[in-house]
């Protein structure tokens, strides 16, 4: 595909957008680099792509012209989002098979970026996930039910807090403080409940266990910088979670 200079500039902007969206959907680093390289190659550039969680840099070299380099700072950190990830994968496959016009590429990216996971499914998912894990980790059915209710609350809280663009550590601390207070009070009132099991079910939704596993995987496959950065981040997030719960438990224990 022959591109004008202007189109080349717009193509690299599209690649940046694709990379950022992939990161926001929780795609692995190696996958992001791979996808961007493939698309760029399909459009005729010789690609140099480097991605870490907070930065994307791309240089496109062309045999007969000057190269283009762009970088983008990534500030947002998304959660796993298969809904958009699947659409991005389909788009990138299409671009690799037969490069589509840049204007169309950009159009479709904007459409994907504006899309959202359907809230009802996410809500039901949180309920089943939190309830299921409370039982899984040894709680009884009542623990599961209470955990499920708080799972729904977490889901709604996350939507609210996500809009304020608070950083992840602070958001985690806030949510865990509120959930800790709620669960603590309920299990104070109803002594048959096991507070730890309910809390574990609920924090499976918050805990960066998956991110931690992915971070170690990054290190194992050779993306050491990304892996170490993510690992450090997950430890900080987990500490923030603990801080929130600690405050909540201290407050609950004050109640006679």
């Amino acid at each position: 595909m022959d591109l004008t200079r202007d189109e080349e500039a717009r193509l690299i902007a599209c690649l940046m957008e694709t990379g950022q969206l992939l990161l926001e959907c929780g795609a692995e680093i190696s996958r992001v680099e791979d996808t961007l390289t493939r698309i760029g190659t399909a459009y005729g550039g010789v690609m140099n792509v480097f991605v870490i969680p907070s930065l994307i840099t791309i240089t496109m070299n062309y045999p007969d012209r000057e190269s283009i380099t762009e970088t983008r700072r990534i500030r947002s950190y998304g959660t796993t989002d298969f809904y958009r990830l699947e659409k991005l994968n389909a788009l990138s496959r299409e671009c690799c098979a037969k490069p589509i016009p840049i204007a169309e590429f950009r159009e479709r990216l904007y459409k994907i970026a504006a899309g959202k996971k359907p809230l009802p499914a996410v809500l039901v998912g949180s309920i089943l996930g939190a309830g299921g894990f409370a039982v899984f980790f040894g709680g009884n059915l009542w623990d599961g039910l209470v955990s499920a209710v708080f799972g729904a609350i977490i889901c709604l809280l996350q939507g609210r807090i996500g809009r304020t663009e608070l950083n992840t550590a602070a958001a985690n601390m806030l949510v865990s403080l509120m959930i800790g207070l709620g669960v603590g009070l309920v299990s104070k009132l109803i002594p048959v409940l096991h507070m730890d099991k309910i809390l574990i079910g609920d924090i499976m939704l918050l805990i960066p266990g998956l991110t931690m596993t992915n971070a170690i995987r990054n290190i194992l496959v050779g993306n050491t910088i990304s892996g170490v950065v993510r690992l450090a981040e997950t430890i900080i997030w987990a500490a923030a979670l603990a801080g929130g719960f600690m405050m909540a438990l201290a407050i609950v224990n004050l109640i006679p």
């Binding site: 692995e28 996958r31 796993t80 989002d81 298969f82 809904y83 958009r84 990830l85 699947e86 994968n89 996971k117 359907p118 499914a121 996410v122 039901v124 998912g125 949180s126 309920i127 089943l128 996930g129 939190a130 309830g131 299921g132 894990f133 039982v135 899984f136 980790f137 599961g144 889901c155 730890d196 809390l199 574990i200 924090i203 499976m204 939704l205 805990i207 266990g209 998956l210 931690m212 596993t213 992915n214 170690i216 995987r217 194992l220 496959v221 987990a238 500490a239 979670l241 603990a242 719960f245 600690m246 438990l249």
Partner: protein, 144 residues
């Protein structure tokens, strides 16, 4: 035994929930839930046979990837979409909680002990996934 059955059912429900939570499409819900149940089954079996935290997590996650690779071919999607919810029951959320709980109460010995177990589990899960994926890549390269 009864405990194990409860756990397997709970793993099914939880993996189903997480497939929804992650925004997977409807046709993946059941597949992911079954993946969660089976991965936990492999974990329990390995744990019963070898009593090893590392081995049971490793084989559980390795199984999840194999399962996902086979089904992804049938359902025409990337394996990641099936691996991630299937592996969720292995994620040491409970251990992480008890680590933090011990840390908050200032019990250094318990923090170190449970925290170490948590890290070993995470390492074993990642290793299980990475090894199977690396083998698959090797296999694809030889075919090409």
């Amino acid at each position: 035994m009864l405990d194990a059955i409860y756990q397997l059912i709970a793993a099914f429900v939880a993996a189903f929930g997480f497939a929804m939570y992650f925004g997977a499409r409807k046709r993946f819900f059941f597949v992911c839930a079954l993946g969660g149940l089976l991965s936990w089954g492999v974990y329990l079996l390995t744990d019963y046979l070898f009593h090893s935290l590392f081995l049971s997590n490793f084989s559980g996650s390795a199984f999840a990837v194999l399962y996902a690779e086979v089904l992804a071919r049938h359902m025409k999607c990337t394996a990641t979409m099936i691996v991630v919810p299937s592996v969720i029951p292995l994620i040491p959320g409970g251990m992480l909680y008890y680590t933090l709980d011990a840390a908050v109460h200032g019990d250094l010995a318990a923090t170190r002990q449970i925290g170490g177990d948590t890290l070993i589990s995470a390492l074993a899960i990642s290793a299980g996934i990475s090894v199977v994926m690396a083998l698959r890549e090797l296999h694809m390269k030889r075919q090409a």
